[in-house]
């Protein structure tokens, strides 16, 4: 894209985009660390993950302040306006991704004993890989201003949802088999829910990237895969 006649305007927009990329990096790290802590029952890592979430809150605040300044001083139009709006929304989603990771880390600490068998958590780990891949892909799409890549991310969210549904059923089976599994499975279920939500945030970001680049909204025609019928108020 051509540069603005006023070069400081370009610098402001570049800085905001840079902050989003920074938030994305921190969010990915938090998610990955939280699930590692879960799999290895690493309480130190869980604590670090919880502490690091503050960084995302700070970055969100920073981006919001910068956005307000650009709107007040530049009155952005066209693509610039869409970019500012998208940056604000994407920052919000990334901050929420951090919260989801923090929730998982808190559960690691709350679980009074380690995973009895890590096979129970394998589904969660697999789902995390997928959610992280989604997050990475959408952050790349943002950086490259690639609407097609963003659309792909949006369309792939159903895979994360499908895994969540199968984890839900699997954990339900374990709980019915042996009531002693219930505590652990309930914790894992909440973890799985948090990871599934990360996929949703990646989808939100994808929709915002698409709008930012094209000026059009993605039409809402993707399939819905969550068949658990469970409303989760924990993270609402």
């Amino acid at each position: 894209m051509t540069e603005h006649t006023v070069s400081s305007y370009d610098e402001e927009l570049t800085t905001i985009a840079g902050r989003i990329a920074e938030m994305g990096g921190v969010a990915e790290e938090l998610v990955s660390d939280a699930v590692s802590a879960l799999m290895r029952r690493d309480l130190v890592l869980a604590d670090q993950t919880i502490a690091k979430d503050v960084k995302l809150d700070e970055l969100l605040l920073d981006i919001e302040m910068r956005n307000v300044q650009v709107i007040a001083r530049r009155q952005p139009m066209g693509q610039d306006l869409r970019e500012i709006m998208a940056a604000g929304r994407i920052a919000n989603d990334l901050e929420r991704v951090g919260d989801m990771a923090k929730n998982v880390a808190k559960r690691v600490i709350a679980m009074d004993e380690g995973l009895k068998s890590s096979t129970l958590a394998i589904g969660v780990e697999h789902m995390t890989e997928l959610a992280l891949a989604q997050l990475k892909a959408v952050l790349d799409a943002y950086t490259r201003r690639d609407a097609d890549a963003a659309k792909l991310v949006r369309d792939r969210d159903s895979e994360v949802d499908a895994i969540y549904t199968s984890i839900f059923r699997e954990l339900l089976t374990y709980m019915m088999e042996d009531p002693r599994n219930i505590t652990q499975c309930a914790h894992l279920l909440f973890c799985a829910k948090n990871i599934e939500r990360i996929g949703d945030h990646a989808t939100n970001i994808a929709e915002n990237v698409y709008y930012m680049v094209t000026g059009d909204r993605l039409t809402d025609d993707r399939p819905r895969m969550d068949e658990t019928g469970v409303a989760d108020k924990e993270n609402a």
Partner: protein, 273 residues
């Protein structure tokens, strides 16, 4: 919970596209304007909606004012200027030799960049048009036209006690609204405004913009402005001119959020080289 956004048809009402609902007041086809050998306007096709505000934007020298002036044949007054093509208002060709430019300009009024009241009283400024067009036979009738025009221009309360005072004694913003009252007094259907706020402070500008918004209920308004924010604020339809060409015409809400042409995009975002 998996996100379930509302389908589009259940979304809260988005901004109405006013321009979709109205009829065409002015239709221009293949309009060319030459200043001597200079081809200042090339092949402009545009439909201007009735009872809506259409804004012309573009860099200096892009032809937006020149094109505006073709709409009431103001260019006739410039010797070297030649207009070709077809401009119809309500289906009537305004360049037809049978059309009297003076009558045309009563129907298509104009407000200029600098407020230019006549060196006469406030009353006479507004009464001038109706007098020369013979719109009032009695003094009472003329009084009525003057009062209602000043009211429509949002100036009445500020000047009703000093109608005999000089128009030039008003503030810049009041003078501009006086000029709008003067344009309204001859019951035009179209009002052309050539940067009507560029000499006004922000508060006077806001008053004129508020007035424009009220006037569009009864008049077709075309405004040339250098302020994109102003175009975004007051218009329903925006036309972007560049190098004598109409680059893009669209609903204002689209032009300023999602322009289709790269040149429009570059201009409205401040990237013009």
């Amino acid at each position: 919970m998996v996100r379930k956004p509302l389908p589009m048809n259940e979304m809260p009402n988005t901004v109405e596209k006013v321009t979709d609902m109205t009829e065409t007041k002015i239709a221009a086809r293949k309009v060319q304007v030459y200043y001597g050998d200079t081809h200042a306007i090339q092949d402009v096709d545009i439909d201007i909606q009735a009872k809506a505000v259409t804004a012309f934007i573009g860099p200096s020298g892009c032809g937006k004012s020149t094109f505006l002036r073709t709409l009431n044949r103001m260019n006739d007054t410039i010797d070297v200027c030649r207009v070709e093509g077809d401009i119809k208002i309500d289906g009537e060709d305004i360049y037809d030799p049978k059309v009297d430019p003076v009558q045309l300009r009563a129907k298509v009024g104009m407000v200029f960049q600098k407020p230019n009241p006549f060196p006469k009283s406030i009353y006479d400024n507004v009464a001038y048009g109706p007098r020369i067009h013979g719109l009032a036979s009695k003094k009472a009738e003329l009084d009525e036209i003057v009062a209602s025009s000043l009211q429509k221009a949002g100036l009445w309360n500020e000047v009703k006690d000093r109608l005999d005072g000089p128009g030039t004694g008003l503030s810049g913003g009041q003078q501009q609204r006086l000029c709008i009252a003067r344009a309204i007094a001859v019951s035009p259907e179209v009002i052309l405004m050539d940067e009507p706020c560029s000499a006004l402070d922000p508060i006077a500008t806001a008053k004129v913009e508020e007035l424009i918004d009220e006037l569009r209920e009864n008049y077709t308004i075309v405004i040339v402005t250098h302020s994109m924010q102003q175009a975004a604020r007051v218009s329903q339809q925006t036309a972007f001119f560049h190098l004598g060409i109409l680059v893009e015409l669209g609903a204002t809400q689209d032009i300023f959020t999602n322009p289709q042409d790269k040149r429009t995009q570059d201009y409205i975002t401040g990237r013009f080289g």
